[in-house]
Symmetry: C2
Subunit: 361 residues, 2 copies
């Protein structure tokens, strides 16, 4: 008896955007000793958030406020926007899914860079839309090409991450602002700024919610150190936020995450510490690569792409590192996949990585 | 500049399935003193879960296992099914959304009872499908009518909750089994058993995952006391689970929720305590109503519908209770909306409710 799936679901492949480290550990039959492959933060959470969440666990019987009112109010204040210009949901992944669903008809087109964040692609496929890709320019996403293609194929949605995942590269605020200004009238730019707080330079253009051509995505998963809590937000024109509200899962937010995120936002100094720690961490990886005569791409994230000059070497390195109990990932497509992506870890994790990496080389 | 929403999103209303108590509190300008309107459990969590989650908060930097492997394994063992016959996601709401998306084409039909769980209807509308309703039979959902209509309109999806929300009523395992057996070949029954662990009697038919005509939904939000954690699961034929896996948000689960749910499942005796406490709590409400000469509908959930004999009286009661700091809800449509839904609360909440209710009468 066949299942009465939709035509679309029948045609979807049974793939997932990422394989989790736990899956690999089950396959290996033993845990990793360094987990530096999933872009998780090693710099901890705000103490205030940690304490607020530990206390909040006892109140797990209650649903979270479906309006995320207090959190949105704090975020609105932080970003100088109105509370109705913010939508909170369970991670940028969830928000990207809603964005695709909200803007793309079946067979509608979305533009992204070939090799950019795969979960965006997963949602585009999952809602029956069509992905159009443009190549990276070297190790950078190419704003001009993205806009040009968006116009050419008349795509309602174009995606760019700044800083970029999986390469850690970035564009200046001016370049991004020019891109925003160039988004055509029937399109919207999904500007994924998941890693923005790791950047030392101010690479985020001013937030202007009067412009309905861009959605800014921010998260508590990265610099805030709360990936496991699943909470993020979109900042956009209020008409776009109203669109999210028509389709989002209103009771989808974890109450403890909501409380922790609020405490994080209110802990103003925390992010500065993280930004500095990330900069030191990146420098350590850059120096390490340089000492080995390898090129490492400057990064504004919590990982550094190290160029091994061929896919075969990069793949062999990932395998060998896993054998030596180091979980790391690499970009999926050419020309990015000549690199491995070194996540910033603790001192112990870095030492383990460094030893294993040198051994593998 | 209009937003390039899909045609569907343009036509969707800006409504939400429920207004949260926090929203009402903001409107009132003061908190409720009794929160017995959102079907949240007053019976607490498993101690093991509480402790596991408090400990787990410090590990919030890591994503949860996207396969939910350990949890699915424990659930598979509990229910005597295979691990590939279980899908975990962030609450039954999320799973219902996926179910609709997976089975209903645009303009496809879903059958439910008029006045049943509104979030199912929200998803049906949100994915552009059409809702076909059959009336309740008195205060009970009507399995025969649901099946008959499913056949008549050739609907791929039919929804029933057992026990029922918002009425607390239930059908025996035999009746539900007969309904499952009667699901036509091109249809699937979404059997929402969110409240099943509150039932004293064994009203859940045996789980048979070889039958691809039914999906059983279970949650940690109700008897497990973890609504704020947002974690639930579906049990179904593995082909259906594979469908979920094609479209679900693989990294959507909160890591702390995952850990807490696992600890809850392993704490075997906990649910028995809750079932008994719920039975006492229901009896207290039944007696209270009876003493006032009011009919209260026997319930297998953590709330009791008390019949005030007219919508006007029921609505006035909800308003008056709110004035007296008691948050309660009532069913939304006739003939159910002559009732108010009394959630089981603590002793203090019950006393507050009882005093306020008598005053309001």
């Amino acid at each position: 008896m066949p299942i009465p799936f939709t035509q679309l679901v029948n045609t979807l492949p049974a793939t997932t955007p990422f394989v989790g480290p736990e899956t690999l550990e089950r396959q290996r039959g033993k845990p990793f000793r360094a987990r530096i492959g999933a872009n998780e933060s090693v710099f901890g959470m705000s103490d205030a958030a940690l304490q607020a969440m530990q206390q909040a666990v006892a109140g797990s019987a209650w649903y979270a406020d479906p309006e995320n009112y207090d959190l949105r109010q704090a975020l609105a204040q932080k970003h100088g926007v109105d509370i109705d210009e913010i939508c909170v949901d369970a991670g940028i992944d969830t928000l990207l899914g809603l964005t695709v669903r909200m803007l793309l008809e079946h067979n509608g087109k979305a533009v992204t860079s070939h090799g950019a964040y795969p979960t965006f692609n997963y949602h585009v496929a999952g809602f029956g839309a069509e992905l159009v890709t443009v190549p990276f320019q070297g190790f950078h996403e190419d704003p001009d090409a993205l806009i040009e293609t968006t116009k050419k194929v008349n795509a309602p949605l174009v995606y760019l991450s700044n800083p970029d995942n999986p390469m850690g590269t970035w564009h200046s605020a001016d370049v991004i602002q020019s891109m925003i200004d160039a988004v055509p009238e029937n399109s919207i730019l999904a500007l994924d700024e998941a890693y923005i707080e790791f950047a030392v330079d101010d690479i985020a253009p001013a937030i202007d919610t009067s412009n309905p051509r861009v959605i800014r995505f921010r998260t508590f998963s990265k610099a805030y150190g709360m990936a496991g809590q699943r909470i993020a937000y979109a900042i956009a024109h209020q008409d776009i936020i109203q669109g999210f509200n028509k389709i989002r899962n209103h009771f989808g937010i974890n109450r403890i995450a909501q409380i922790g995120a609020l405490a994080s936002v209110k802990d103003g100094g925390f992010l500065d510490t993280v930004t500095q720690a990330a900069e030191s961490g990146r420098q350590r990886v850059m120096n390490f690569a340089s000492d080995l005569g390898l090129y490492a791409e400057p990064s504004s994230t919590n990982f550094v792409a190290v160029d091994l000059e061929s896919t075969e070497r990069a793949q062999a390195m990932i395998t060998k590192l896993a054998d030596l109990d180091v979980f790391m990932r690499m970009p999926g497509v050419a020309p990015l996949n000549r690199c491995v992506r070194v996540g910033l870890g603790s001192d112990a994790e870095f030492d383990l990585f460094a030893t294993a990496f040198k051994q593998a080389l």
